[in-house]
């Protein structure tokens, strides 16, 4: 085991020596790979921020039921009974038109404008909160229920508040797919850059490799420093890309803050947490390793 560690220590030291001999070239390659990684990393950061938001919204979908203006209050209130029969597991809240107007005044900041209207234009309404509804996939049940509610006497209109959640979920799925394709494409770019870097290293160290073979070095011993170089390149580029994305979130959040404020939201983009970031670093190192493996297998085989 000690020998195993010693061999890997030697390989890592050899890789660092090779990097030190041409630091400019290595740094440039890190930059190229980091640029390729930054785009999918940014996409993942955005999705990571948006996903919990959409999940939270889909937990408590609502159906709003608006009563006709000419329906008296007691008849409107009596609709609660058939509503409970139709939506047994739902939480049903009656919102009188006066309360609806007060809410509108409080939340919109348009109390002055609303005061000029004179009569309250809002109808009595019900909010049906469906606890059992969890995902967009069960949205079909909500549609059926909404149709049934629409047929109740005195009902003017029914609005399913989950519709836009379904659209958001579908949009996120499309974004995820696009991101995966982008990541696959740029992952290939990373592998290609590392492949070429290692090819150049093999060429510049040709004499050392040949001498090593003549003095009894195994292929594994010769290949290992190149693997470390590839993994190191991927790791450093991954770190740089993550750092770049985290820095970019600052100005992006300034713009988002203004937009979110319009919706009375405090939404901000946060950098990836430790575990996903560690996963991306491991993935970057893995891509570097794959590039090095392919390059070494191809180019060192020619020296045998």
């Amino acid at each position: 085991m000690t020998n195993w560690f010693r061999q890997h220590g030697f390989a890592l030291a050899a890789a660092l020596v090779h990097v030190r001999r041409a630091p400019g070239s290595f740094l440039f390659n890190i930059l190229v790979v980091a640029i390729a990684l930054a785009l999918p990393f940014m996409g993942m950061t955005l999705l990571d921020n948006v996903r919990p938001l959409s999940e939270q919204m889909s937990v408590d979908p609502e159906i709003s039921l608006f009563i006709k203006q000419d329906v008296p209050r007691d008849q409107a209130a009596s609709l609660a009974t058939p509503l409970r029969e139709l939506a047994r597991e739902a939480k049903i809240i009656f919102v009188p038109r006066e309360k609806a107007l007060d809410n509108l005044k409080d939340k919109s900041g348009l109390s002055d404008v609303l005061a000029t209207l004179g009569d309250n234009p809002l109808p009595d309404s019900y909010i049906v909160k469906l606890d059992a509804f969890r995902t967009a996939a069960t949205g079909l049940d909500v549609d059926v229920l909404a149709e049934q509610l629409r047929l109740l006497p005195g009902v003017e209109s029914v609005q399913i508040d989950s519709a836009w959640v379904k659209r958001l979920a579908a949009l996120i799925n499309i974004l995820k797919l696009a991101l995966m394709l982008l990541a696959a494409t740029l992952g290939t770019v990373v592998v290609a850059v590392v492949f070429n870097t290692i090819r150049l290293q093999v060429l510049t160290q040709r004499e050392e490799i040949l001498v090593s073979k003549l003095i009894g070095a195994t292929d594994t011993f010769i290949h290992r420093p190149f693997y470390y170089t590839g993994a190191l390149l991927g790791l450093c580029a991954g770190g740089l890309a993550l750092g770049g994305v985290a820095l970019a979130l600052g100005p992006l959040n300034n713009a988002i803050a203004e937009f979110a404020r319009l919706y009375a939201s405090e939404f901000r983009l946060a950098p990836l947490s430790a575990w996903p970031a560690a996963g991306l670093l491991a993935l970057s190192a893995g891509l570097g390793l794959i590039g090095a493996l392919l390059s070494v297998q191809r180019h060192l085989a020619k020296l045998n």
Binding site: N3, R6, Q7, F10, R21, E207, E208, L210, V211, S212, K213, L214, I215, G216, A217, T218, D219, F221, N304
Partner: protein, 215 residues
């Protein structure tokens, strides 16, 4: 220890490097290979080091059939060989000490132990005080002695030297051969190809090759 049985090596239909060569080199022998350029001396040495495989016949080194030796087994065979070339093949980007340490590092020897043995090997060839120099700072004769130190640092059973004094003056050549004779005197088998008539005159055993065949 080294046995050639009806060995032929062809690089193509019209290029035969060795023709039906049969010979035995015993443990501890000092053998010189002589012959004009293109006689097959280098090919014979390369076969012992498993750098070439016979087209027909058998080459046995330390009990291993070179023709059947798997690629993974070649490094382990070479760890028992010390190879010295006409052009020294030293790495100019590192010190002489680092060059001599290389055969030990590839076996996974601890650095301190490798350094100690490399310094001892350099001492044996009279270059202990140049350990930290770069190869290009040394004369051709000194560089060849460094390559001898690299060849013997692993305490090999066999030393193979291909024209080790071809580019050296008489005094430097003598020092190189003195070093090789010193290792032979402690039981190391040495197979040396050379054109040096002075050396061949006093040799106990000389194998003459001409156009790939034994004379």
């Amino acid at each position: 220890m080294i046995e050639f049985q009806h060995v032929t090596k062809q690089y193509g239909p019209d290029a035969t490097a060795l023709r039906d060569v049969s010979l035995t080199i015993n443990k501890g022998e000092l053998v010189f290979l002589a012959g004009p350029s293109g006689a097959g001396k280098s090919t014979l040495l390369k076969m012992i080091a498993a750098m070439e495989r016979p087209s027909s016949g058998q080459v046995i080194v330390n009990g291993q059939d070179i023709g059947r030796l798997k690629a993974a087994g070649v490094p382990f065979l070479r760890r028992n060989l010390g190879l010295i070339f006409q052009e020294q093949r030293l790495l100019n980007d590192r010190s002489i000490l680092a060059n001599v340490m290389m055969p030990l590092m590839v076996t996974g020897a601890p650095r301190a132990q490798a350094e100690q043995r490399a310094r001892a090997a350099l001492d044996k060839v009279g270059l202990a005080d140049r350990a930290d120099s770069r190869p290009l700072a040394l004369s051709g004769g000194e560089q060849q002695r460094v390559s001898i130190a690299r060849a013997i640092v692993n305490r090999p059973q066999i030393i193979l030297a291909d024209e080790p004094t071809a580019n050296l003056d008489r005094a430097s050549a003598e020092r190189v051969f003195d070093a090789l004779r010193a290792f032979h005197s402690v039981g190391v088998t040495c197979v040396i190809s050379t054109h040096d008539e002075v050396v061949l005159d006093g040799a106990a055993r000389v194998i003459h090759l001409r156009q790939g065949a034994l004379e």
